[in-house]
Amino acid sequence: MTLTIKRVHLQRDNWSEACPSFRQNNFVEMNESSVMKTYTQQAILCVLALGVSLGAASRSSADVPAAVREAEEARVAVIEQASASVVAIFPPNGQGGGSGVLISPSGLTLTNFHVVQGAGPFLKCGLKDGVVYDAVLIGIDPTGDVAIIQLLGRTDFPYSPLGDSDTVRAGDWAFAMGNPFLLAEDFTPTLTYGMVSGVRRYQYPAGTFLEYTDCIQVDTSINPGNSGGPLFNTSGEVIGINGRISVEKRGRVNAGAGYAISINQIKHFRDHLLSGRVVDHATLGATVRSDEFSNVIIDTILPDCDAFYQGLRRGDEVVSFGGRSIGSVNQFKNVLGIYPKGWKVPLTYRREGQRTEIFVRLQGLHSTGELLQFAEGPAAPRPKQDEKNPEDPEQPRPGLPEMLNPHRQPPPIPEEHAHLYEARLGFANYHFNRLKQEELFAQLKELGDFGGAGAKWTIQGTVASQPPFRLVLSEVACLLEVPSEQRLMLLDLERPETHMAGWNSDGLLMAFQQWQQLLTAGAEAFTEVYYVGSEPLDGAGPRVDVLATMQSGRECRWYFDQKQKQFVGWDISVMDHVPECGIRLQGWIREGAYSRPTGWTLLVPGQAPLEFQVSRMSVEKFEPPALP
């Protein structure tokens, strides 16, 4: 008898696993012998229960239809594969932690901004294989609560494919993986399975930043520590990044409503995040309201935003935006929230029964100064979670509360990775921006040798197949000649109003002056150069990489076709409160030492596109006359 009791005692933990209900029994008041007696009794019960359930199980596996078994096996396989890509993220200061998901074999990993906020440029990450990897921060989106980090040390990381969150419907099954409550000492992710409760949800901003637009609502259990982790569809594709929950009187844990940032939004921002910048969301430059017929109406509009230049006015009805029909202000905000600053987005409006489609360039939601506060600095101690959001328990939190990391302090970042981080004002990590700039300038170099600085270019051809034109470009003066008139631009830096005179009222000459600078002097010609990210050219064209340059208040955005690896055009903003001027190159042809454009299209808001055909281009040495 004694022996039996001992064995029973030893196995107690196993039973409590097998029979969870027994765990809840209160043993506190029991004396030793009655505990033993209880264990014995429970042992008998558990053995009975196990035997019976095993019997039921063996019978069931034989009876379950093949289709059900196959579905279950498929699900297990999907989860097995997905779990390998799930990342447990720990800041180096050992405080807190969250989750992430690998999206490329090179180690690119999506997570929440609020997981990496204040953690410094280097992080420690654990995968299901139990290995701790170093990781470096690349870019952050404080408004959308997204960050991309790069895991280091392998080129064959397991990763998960991205799904299409626009096809997700309420009632779909969805599973989340991550490290809730930082439970996994060995980094094996925790799986929770649930249902999509709603799509295209709009969550009001918490504080000034962090707005969840167009997000996916799930009843899948999302808890502190799940932040930044993936939401998968049943095929194991990432459809969102979990980052927010509705909490209320039950405490700061799952209350049946979790929110994931839709993956399609993150796809829009992906290259922006890879630029190492603090990326910004967008505004139209106009506000909307809904009228008594549930139409969405332009309420106010700034007189110097692109939408205004394109013809949008107060009182116009927004019919569709971003390719989606708009029936409520929330829908409008949902669409607006998924695009980065600077994208051109289609907008259809109705005025007096007339429908008009325009492509509007979105402007930044925040000022540079506002974004600067998020630029990376050394890891700072985080505020205690209780200090945030003390009131209003019904409001969703600006993110899940952080978890205290119970694990030991991770080792410091090895020296070998130190070069992967470059501090620069306004950037999360300038290193990755510089790499992209170098890549794009290499593409420009392939266009040939344009004679270096101090050259005079003469380009000849026809305008709209009719009158001939001659365009002369140099560093200090530009000239455009057509039979009816001749316009000269002298680059008098003291008198910017001359930059917009005559034919050049659209900024055409200044656009070409900058173009020549880019091709001859490169980055040296500008006070500031950075890689922006990517966008569909003019809202509907091919994806282009965008390089931005700044020089004396002139801003240019240079476009490089990602697939064709070709320089395809640019936009210039000559000065504030003046519409942009756009040049779209038709193609390039090699002539000797350099390539020349075969022609271009001039784009000015509110005007019909104007085609220029180029027949020849010459490059000469040019000595600018000495100024008196």
Partner: protein, 350 residues
């Protein structure tokens, strides 16, 4: 002290086994006919659910809720709660249409209410065909939880399993809930702000019950997730729709128990409903010393003998310790004025 007795467990185990076996059989039966995906079912259910906006908006008292359409003419069934304590109840249909609702009637110990909006040929739940389901049945819950679904978005859908069907033993604040019928207890976190009046359905989208308001279990004090089964309530709802008065079946708040009968003092405080109910006078006995010295209803007691009185409870506590014949110097606040009266402690028949 708890002593497990095997004989107590066997009766529990046997039904569990039976339920398992039954569950397996039904699972087999279902697998033969491929069921519709929950997303397709949700699309069918969404048009039958409406969002309600009414009174509330204070902390922990949501001004949003849920209802289900129960007739093609726009009768909406919901839970009778604070949301309806207003003339202006707005209903938002699945397609985003906003309509003003009329209160038709409310009754039944289940605390049901019927609203009406002017629509024709609305999709609705047929209350004459309500299935019953037992423990282990998978269910869907549809509601305007947390008011996430703003604008014209459909409400939220969540999934769960009926854990048990059992009489409701719950309370709200300090009051027990008068409804003592069976409810579906669900394993999903279903009863959230704004959920009350939502639909509990089968996986096929058939209405099973109405999601109830947020309640705590009387004994464990835990929030419970439950829905009121509709299978027996068709007649009640029918009467409500026809405007018939349902006698003796009206949900009333239980009579407020005064902790101490203060009538001998010539005054009565407001019902002590929350933990720190301010000590406002509810009534002053005409002709009493309290009335003669000028106390009025709605005066707020702030001091007794210079001791701060912050709640009804503190007032009662003070009276219990006072000796008969002592003088009570009571200071009350009325608007911005302070008024002090002196009353002898009477004989409270405790």
């Amino acid at each position: 002290m708890f002593k497990p007795n095997p004989r107590r467990f066997l009766p529990v185990l046997l039904p569990m086994l039976l339920a398992c076996a039954l569950g397996l059989m039904t699972a087999r039966a279902r697998a033969d006919t491929a069921p519709a995906a929950p997303s397709d079912i949700s699309d069918q259910v969404f048009p039958r659910i409406v969002k309600l906006y009414g009174a509330g908006g204070l902390k922990n008292l949501a001004n949003y809720g849920t209802g289900v359409l129960v007739s093609p003419d726009g009768h909406i069934l919901t839970i009778w709660n604070h949301l309806l304590d207003t003339e202006q109840i707005t209903v938002v249909l699945d397609n985003g249409r906003r309509l003003e609702a009329r209160f038709v009637g409310g009754a039944g110990e289940a605390g049901l209410a019927i609203l009406k909006v002017e629509v024709k040929n609305a999709p609705y739940f047929d209350l004459t065909r309500i299935p019953r389901r037992g423990p282990g049945s998978p269910v869907l819950g549809f509601s305007n939880m947390f008011n996430v679904a703003a604008g014209d978005e459909p409400v939220s859908v969540i999934h769960g399993v009926i854990a048990t069907v059992t009489p409701l033993d719950a309370r709200r604040g300090r009051y027990d809930i008068p409804y003592k019928g069976d409810v579906y207890i669900v394993d999903a976190i279903m009863n959230n702000p704004g959920s009350a009046g939502g639909a509990l359905t089968t996986l096929e989208g058939e209405l099973l019950g109405l999601i109830g308001k947020e309640l705590r279990d009387s004994r464990s004090n835990l929030w419970i997730n439950y829905a009121i089964p509709m299978y027996d309530l068709n007649e009640t709802v029918g009467k409500l729709i026809r405007g018939e008065v349902i006698a003796n079946d009206r949900m009333e708040l239980p009579a407020v128990v005064q902790e101490l009968d203060t009538t001998p003092l010539g005054l009565r405080l407001v019902p002590n409903v929350v933990a720190r109910t301010p000590a406002y006078l509810d009534a002053v006995l005409p002709g009493s010393a309290a009335a003669e010295q000028g106390l009025q209803p709605d005066d707020l007691i702030v001091l007794i003998n210079d001791d701060l009185i912050q709640s009804c409870s503190e007032f009662y506590k003070y009276l219990r310790t006072a000796k008969r014949g002592d003088l009570l110097r009571i200071t009350v606040r009325r608007d911005r004025e302070l008024l002090t009266v002196e009353l002898p402690v009477p004989d409270f028949s405790r």
